[in-house]
Amino acid sequence: MPMDSLEASAVDVLVIGGGNAGLCAAITARRAGARVLLLESATKHLRGGNSRHTRDIRYMHRGATEYVTGSYPEAEFWEDLRQVTGGDTNERLALQVIRSSEDLASWMQTQGVRWQKPLRGTLHLARTNLFMLGGGKAMVNAYYETALALGVKVAYQCEVRELDIRDGRFVAARGGAAEEFRARALVVAAGGFEANISWLKEYWGEAAENFVIRGTPYNQGRMLKELLRCGAKPTGNPRGCHAVALDARAPKFDGGIVTRLDSVPFGIVVNNKVERFYDEGEDFWPKRYAIWGGLIARQPDQIAYSILDAKALPCFMPSVFPPVEAGSIPELAAALALDPEKLTAVVERYNRAVRPGTFNPAVLDDCRTEGLEPPKSHWARPIDTPPFYGYPLRPGITFTYLGVAVDERARVIFQDERPAQNVFAAGEVMAGNILTQGYLAGFGLTIGAVFGRIAGQEAARCAAS
């Protein structure tokens, strides 16, 4: 443990979790004069939690820059958030995040984060979101470099297991083998519990065994559980999680962005009983992306198959694994271990139901089915041009919504509605105050950066008093 030399009493602010939120908190607290120790479960190579897998951040801004194509005012930002959450959000905190996001671009740049133009294939985010040059890991690297240069102490492979919080006051955090960390203030930024399969099972049952976890295996939710055990007030839907359709061949953990599949709108999707179960062409993929995880999670064995033909292949971003390819539908079915006769029948029925139209992936076009249940409302073209392709799909969990309640100073709220004296939370562990359902691309980092900075500021102030 590299922290031997660091006396526990020499720490003002203890930060648990070294992702976006924790790093923003540590840097801010350090800049405010506090002596900061950051504890991170992962090794140096795998540090950075889910933030390591991100690529863009949403922020309010008044005009176009070299990197964004236009303005994104507060009212529009708020309206977007209201829509995805169905209005179920803590308005005060949400507006705080939106307003405070305005200076994020310059603040992040000061910490060494650099930008790039929106990636090809992400035009829908070109106005609202900033893309980090090199993605989330480059961002995380920049934060670590800055934090270390400022004098923040960092300990890797240091998982905190227990929190000692009495009467709303943080006393100590304990890791393995009698490691104890004391500090005047605590910032918990340890992410959600998306990597904790047994916890997910509490809500999803055995189905959770078949989920793929897109991010870090280290987000076990231990700190969230500890805070709740110490009396913190929960917030956000405990069953809620952001789940997308992934290539079923993805690694169980940490597959990140590359295992997602954008093929759904361009073909049909069947479950392992070879039945279609949802309108594949309901809306643009970025808008429907996040419901397909849940849809597949409710299919038998939590698996589905995207079925395409040669016309469809160039329509979407390539993914990491090549599609299963076959010269005919029965052969494709056999290769995917589906019933060949059934798949042939489903494809034929679908092909017959397709109405002629003008195919255009850029708009909600008029290519649709008639008399088919469920319908395919757009981009429906007959699946008739060999070779035929199939991708197996599984639900991929991005993050969970359950968190602890906080106030506008990032103080953790206890069940008696009183705020903690010296316990602060930032990032995914408190995002449920704002995001109760749905997701706005790039908003996870926004919440973490805004609340990370607040938590760092407040923790430093608290430690100084």
Partner: protein, 370 residues
């Protein structure tokens, strides 16, 4: 790694990058990759020669080892480039020179040096060799004019021919989709990228070299080497002009064009090569391809020796050491030009050819998008 395995591994890694694209803003490799869906040998060879080995994408990669995807683009690209140099060189019988390049370069240079030493001792004799020679034609009293001009000219022409042949083969083999027509604009654009080392800028912060931190030192040191080399080339050309057309023979006075250009170039080369060698020594071995590092080191050491001996010759040309220094300098120069097409220098032509293709492709892609 045998070729087929390397191509398979290259396709695997590029397929992952193509689904990710986070590094799109770093260099030309990623935008070029995105114009493709599958990665055959030709695609990989082309992409590899677009890579400047800045390593930004290695430290930024969430899939770098120990992640099970084990993405390591700089290392992969270096392996592929080495393969390019080997495969496209001429004559094919010399391709093995790329296998253990440092050893080959050292052996050739040592032989050249020995040959010149023997030549000088036999034809010039010790008396003239260790004497002080002053005034016009001093150098030629140690090594005769014809011996000093004709072989280097022949060797340079040969080297140039080999490099051009390699570039043409590279061009032919990497042709095909997505393509785009090559006009003067592509040449200009590629020249701008190459001469400015644009892809070592890393969006302004420099590159992750020698380690994870950002630094502009590699870019500036490379500039010193490259422009130092050009200045020395200019110095030699001016000297040749003086000699042939004006009848002024070397050595030239300190404030003459050949000496001023040569000195500036020599100092640039010395600092640049020494600095790059220091960076190599410090550099993270993980994103490196070991044999490529050896090739780089051999080239840099030889270039360093050439410049140091050149400067020493200038400093001591009016002393009895001149003869010996001249012989050593000529040995280093001979080694340098003999191994020029069979060592790291080759990267310049393949890189430039790849950048031309890139400029043409990008133009075409933009035209199609509009």
């Amino acid at each position: 790694m045998p070729q087929a395995d390397l191509v398979k591994e290259g396709a695997r890694q590029m397929t992952i990058c193509n689904a990710c694209r986070y590094c799109e803003g770093y260099c030309a490799v990623f935008p070029a990759m995105e114009l493709r869906r599958t990665f055959g040998k030709a695609d990989l060879v082309y992409l590899a020669n677009l890579c400047f080995d800045c390593r930004d994408c290695y430290y930024a990669c969430q899939y770098a080892p120990p992640h099970e995807f084990a993405i390591n683009i700089p290392k992969l690209m270096a392996e592929l480039r080495r393969e390019t140099y080997r495969e496209f060189t001429w004559p094919g019988a010399f391709a093995p020179l790329f296998n253990r390049n440092a050893r080959a370069v050292a052996a050739i240079t040592a032989s050249a040096l020995a040959l010149i030493a023997v030549f000088v001792l036999v034809f010039t004799g010790p008396a003239a060799l260790f004497a002080t020679h002053l005034g016009e034609g001093a150098f030629y009293r140690v090594v005769p004019y014809a011996a000093m001009t004709v072989p280097p000219l022949l060797v340079s022409i040969y080297g140039l021919a080999v490099l051009v042949a390699g570039a043409l083969r590279f061009w032919r083999e990497t042709a095909g989709a997505p393509g785009g027509s090559v006009g003067p604009a592509a040449f200009l654009c590629a020249a701008r990228d190459a001469l400015g080392l644009v892809y070592l800028r890393g969006g302004g912060a420099g590159c992750n070299y020698p380690g994870a931190g950002f630094s502009a030192s590699r870019r500036w040191l490379h500039h010193l080497v490259f422009y130092g080399f050009l200045l020395d080339f200019a110095s030699t050309s001016v000297a040749a002009f003086y000699d042939h057309f004006l009848g002024w023979q070397a050595p030239y006075p300190f404030w003459s064009w050949p000496v001023v250009l040569g000195t500036a170039g020599g100092v640039g080369l010395m600092i640049g090569t020494a600095g790059l060698l220091y960076l190599k020594w410090k550099s993270d071995p993980e994103p490196s391809d070991r044999p490529m590092v050896d090739m780089d080191v051999a080239f840099l050491v030889l270039l360093f020796l050439t410049s140091v001996t050149g400067m020493a010759l200038l400093a001591f040309r009016e002393t009895p050491a001149m003869g010996t220094l001249l012989a050593i300098h000529l040995g280093a120069v001979a080694g340098f030009f003999l191994t020029l097409p069979y060592g790291k220098f080759a990267h310049a032509v393949y890189r430039y050819a790849a950048l031309i293709r890139y400029a043409a492709e990008e133009r075409e892609a933009r035209r199609e998008a509009n």
